[in-house]
């Protein structure tokens, strides 16, 4: 039955049995689809209310996962449209189920689509810089490599956790010409870079991009030389809460990622700062590559509204 599916999915997300931004989103939508498909509703209003409550329950499973409310709101937006039309429950149910199926199928192929769109931006002879390790960026580069384009990649090591080594190793395995550099050498290498591509952890209402620490200074160095700066990201990275003024909080991580414990002990008066993310402002971003197409950063707010409905805050 619909409701029990909601509850079990709630538990799976809460216990982190289901995890990863994409998987969480699909599990939630699947549960709402079942709820809708199997439930009995006296009116479209009744259907909408039920879905709304089920959605709230699901969202509460992991309040900080950005893709979870997006997935739920996507379904509610579809339900809202059906209700507004004021037709019959059966028809509305069919529309909502179709929207859920659409979401799941889109989500499953989103990264692949981003790869295909992004690969078209790469030309023979290009020098591409990337930072950290992003599935979407790897998809773009792999697709371009698969299309037999000849280009070169520069990967930053991405201190403190060296995720750039993972990127470099993976690309080298694909046969891509890749060079690893220390983060201090970004500006020196930017001179011959044609484009930078990075991923995103979250995208805000004004098109700013939250991503791994160091991203914004790569963007600054690209901007200095007018190298193009692209962000590749699935649309469930959009953060509609920022439309209501919410700031994205930047996590501080352990100092022991930056210095060895022994060093820290013998230099106990030295403080260590280790922010996990930074914010790249929209004026340093040329394009966002999403599975819905390419957009300028200033367009993200409309994609938010289109996909997840208008965010509106209840007044106290």
């Amino acid at each position: 039955m619909g409701t029990s599916s909601i509850e079990s999915t709630y538990l799976q997300i809460r216990s982190m049995e289901v995890r990863g931004a994409g998987r969480i989103a699909r599990a939630a939508v699947s549960a709402l689809r079942d709820y809708c498909d199997k439930g009995k509703f006296s009116s479209t209003r009744d259907l909408y209310r039920g879905l709304s409550a089920a959605g709230e329950r699901l969202k509460s499973a992991r309040p900080t996962a950005v893709s979870l409310p997006n997935a739920v709101n996507y379904v509610l937006a579809a339900a809202g449209r059906s209700e507004a039309k004021g037709g019959q429950v059966r028809e509305a149910t069919k529309e909502i189920v179709a929207a859920c199926d659409g979401f799941i199928s889109e989500s499953l192929k989103a990264t692949k689509v981003i790869g295909e769109y992004g690969a078209k931006r790469i030309a023979d002879g290009d020098v591409i810089m990337t930072h950290c390790n992003s599935e979407a960026v790897t998809a773009v580069i792999a697709a371009a490599h698969g299309a037999r384009k000849r280009f070169e990649v520069i990967a930053t090591e991405t201190r403190p956790r060296f995720q750039g080594r993972i990127t470099a190793a993976a690309l080298a395995k694909l046969g891509v010409d890749v060079t690893l550099i220390p983060d201090t050498a970004v500006r020196v290498h930017m001179r011959r870079v044609d484009m930078v591509i990075v991923g995103a952890d979250a995208i805000t209402a004004n098109g700013a991009v939250v991503n791994k620490i160091g991203t914004s200074q790569v963007a600054l160095a690209a901007h200095e030389r007018k190298a193009r700066f692209y962000v590749a990201a699935e649309t469930y990275k959009l953060s509609p809460a920022t439309m209501l003024g919410e700031l994205v909080e930047i996590e501080q991580r352990s100092p022991y990622e930056v210095v060895p414990k022994a060093w820290a002990k013998s230099n106990s008066k030295v403080k260590v700062a280790n922010p996990a993310f930074d914010v790249t402002p929209p004026e340093y971003i040329d394009l966002l590559i999403t599975e819905r197409g390419l957009y300028p950063p200033q367009g993200m707010v409309f994609l938010m509204k289109e996909l997840y409905g208008e965010a509106r805050a209840p007044l106290a």
Copy 2:
């Protein structure tokens, strides 16, 4: 005797018995002083020629050490002025010896003087960022701390060799409030930085500064927010050869400073770039703090000429 002093100094510099930019400079000047003081010369022209030959010998001991030709040229410039006056040998000798003594005594206190000048630029409440590890910068911060100013220092770790840890540890030992950050976190922290101070490996004719890799992107981030950017450097870091068009070569260092050998082996297709220095352009530098006073970067070329005579290339 003068000549033997030249030869023994030549050998000491060549064998690296004498090393360090300041020590090399003083050894060379000291040898030229002896040569001048103890030698017998029939005319000021004769004296100048002798010194010139002795200087060439000394310079050949380590052709890449930037302070060595500067030291020699400083003495030759003094000798040139004496010769131009066309007076007597005795007088000329006295003038040159005085110039040598002056150079040595200035050089010995240069870092201390830079510390005193630089400390005046620091005000209570300032947040200061530094990169890598520089004797001159440490002198500035120590002097400000000694003057009981209350400020905070942010030190970058300075990949790949982590020299920033040395800076942080040393300042903490002095009692300075210091925070160590990964190089990726420079732009995030720049928001609250009032001034950046770094050292220099070499200073060129148009006021560009060659320094540890990463310096130029710290400068770029400072420029973005209009934080002041200071370079603290003794004048023997000036590179008069750049007046004649010479480019400063940037050394590529071992990949094993960037990745562990094991990783490199299992990822042998990943190239690693490890440039030792970068070049900060003059438009990102507010002031150079030297033992001769504070100068805008565009003034360095005249300090070169003043100290080391006019560089002129022989035509083929």
Copy 3:
């Protein structure tokens, strides 16, 4: 009856019995609501035509008040949607009345909502600059203060009419830590400013903001140091006419606001310029805070279309 309500409202607005951007807007919508609710219409087309004529009458009451056409067009856009659906008059009437009620209720709480959204952008320790005196800005600051955030405000005096004194006095009364400065001291203080918030008199199709003279140079100084620049404004400040190429005219006010009459007389050859507003270009604006959420300036044109329908010019 509906029509007489239109006529009486027309007179009230014309005679300035009703004034203030928000009040004018609500009076017009209320009159159209009555017209629609109480009238008799043979078809949705008939209803739409009647409303359209009533709206034109209302707009003519004060052709220069920016909120008046916005309010009328909001209702007409709702009516247009109803007509397009081609349903029955009764249903259409209900929809339009609901839209009117929605507009009025939104308008009544718009400033409060802006306050709540904007307050979330303020963090403990922030230094905020503001210019002139704006209800929306005061709402943001009051809400942040009410949420027990600890921050500091710098208010410019805003020559020639010193409206900044009103702002400073009001905020001080609330208990906010506030400093008043001459307009000449904006750049000096910007060094420690985290964000600027100002209001708006009108917002154009490309996201430029018309506001009290001096706003655009505060924005320029903020841009120089990358301090965030926010505009807080209700959506009835949007100027859809600018989509059709209209330029916003800048009023020149009396010289006696700038110099005393006596001075003007004894220096009669000195001309005095006293423009009331200036235009801040979108590239200096980070975010607009509206009661509909936060938007980048480049998004304003879509909010115009969404709220007030597509502006189309009749061709001659």
Copy 4:
């Protein structure tokens, strides 16, 4: 019959009997209108499929003409909306025919509308620079001149093909005060320019504008001095394919446009580059003036979606 109209129009476009961006677009829409009006369809789905196939046939007539797919997609978007409503064929047909009629009538007056909108941006005393020869720009200037505004135009000669001479001659004939300058003199004259207006060959998803070679450096020079930079273009210049990552290819033209053949022969080792277009980035564009109103460049992607439906790539 409908189908034969498609085929004959296909042949007319293919043989270039019909040419010019606007004429091609109208011919295609007219053929689809006939197809729809005269055909017999069993369901709205059937109607949509038929139109879709007809549209593909038409598009294949000249795959590189940007206005052709836009025109077809405009009709398909209307058909899609009708189908989605799931009503009756007769109603759907009426809606689609109306959309076609709307497109044709809009297209016929688009340039004139642009002229009227754009003319409002010109004030007495303005100095306007233009580059190359554009129908839309001429419409704007002619409309402003017709409205008895007094202004001055500076036209670049637009090497290598001197299209600026055509512009200058045409404007002079209208009685406009016009000065022709070499392309090398753009920056010198920009000092007194208030606004630049140019046309467009294509407009991309992030608001970049493809136009005659030299446009982007006029834009750069305007940006340096903050002269306003406007692009006047009909919406069929929008390139929705760029939403899917497509790059706009820049044609290389014959070297003999740049140097005489005789010179080329006697200097056969000198290569000659002659790109036909360049790309002006959105940050150098203040406004786009279209027949749908004025937009910031970042808004173009939404106009694309609104007019031509959401571009979606089929996955392999």
Copy 5:
């Protein structure tokens, strides 16, 4: 006798019987000239020492007047050159007296010379903006007006003390076409400004200019539109102490210059900031117009050394 002249001048400067930057400088030089001319000295070394002590005495009369140490150091630099030559006392005396006479005569005509140099930069049709009230700027404008050039001046009112009214009144009396504007209207008017000319209170080692509050934001607005920005200043405004790291202190003035006392009392919780000066960075200054000729700001440090000798700090 020389010494008594030193003492009486010391007292006149100290008691402010002699005041004004130029007059103080000339009084000090005149006293040193007498000291030198009338004294009896056994050697050039003796002469130099005597002058040095006399100079220190004079400087101590008003430690914060920037022209006083400059005047004294100018004489000492001349004495130093004489001593270095090692000639006879009589000759040295003559040289120093000549230097003193030169200084006094140059100083007397400095403002006039600046006026003549600066006037050449003004062309017919220019629009010139100025801020505050400066003798040197008035000299430039008067000279250009005297040369029958036709131009327009925009004078800012210069809050809080309205010195701009003095400028406007004075220029209007000369017959210059002058407009007074509030400080908030600077950016709006900058659009048609060709050049800005301001005076200086002090000029630092890196070419930054300390001047009346508001100057640096006029410079910023000029920089935004690439209007030329000139500083007209006599060379005794140079601050050689800044070569040794000294920061120029910015005075905070009374709040009652900003708000009436009554207002301050009834709003006692509102703080008022009233800094007297600000610092314009060299990158916003095109040229300094001095009586020694026109220089880029980065050249000021060499003019300091040339005129006042090398500033060197004694080490503790």
Copy 6:
């Protein structure tokens, strides 16, 4: 005899029998050398006065040739130094003749020296853009090519007189890889340019460079992408008069260089502007390459003073 040599040189320069900046300079110096060598003078003062009068005569031959007063002033500066020393006429004569010989020999090899210095700035793989046709630039490129460096040159055609064709042809003849482009294609090609090198017609006191029309927009495009921008110029291009405020006048040339006469006639209402030069501001110039070494533009004023003595204007 000396005087007759002055007179005959005066006539040769006036009649343009002697022309070209370098040749004029050398002829004038040679005449002054003869005057000095062959004349009879009672004192160094007498000698100086004679030279001074002879120099004025020579300068009057072509008042607008920038190298002529420089050459004369160079000799007068040497004479001034001799006079200041107050030695004997014979010695002074020798010194002045030596200075003249030095000037002539330096001048003869200046272009070659510039070539050698400049060539060092070029590295294998560089892409170099140049504008117009400059002997000094050709010397740099030829020297680099002679040193077997492998690089590519892009030459702009340089409308209206196509001097870029001369450059392209000459370089191709040397075997250099060269591409000719229309001036409209500068920004498009700048993307892959490493450095720009241009010549100069005159260099001003603040380091601005007057050169062929179009130079400043090449500089702007280089600045946008941070390509280095070098100016190669002999020091007799320095314009010391600009130290005294003189503006460099920009010649307007014939419209028939821009359009054919026939076109001009049939379009007689079209005005044509054809300025010969433009001014590149110092902030767009990285280095000036002179035969005296490499300098930042802000250093030019000191090179002026060093070479040609302090420019001082006589007061009316």
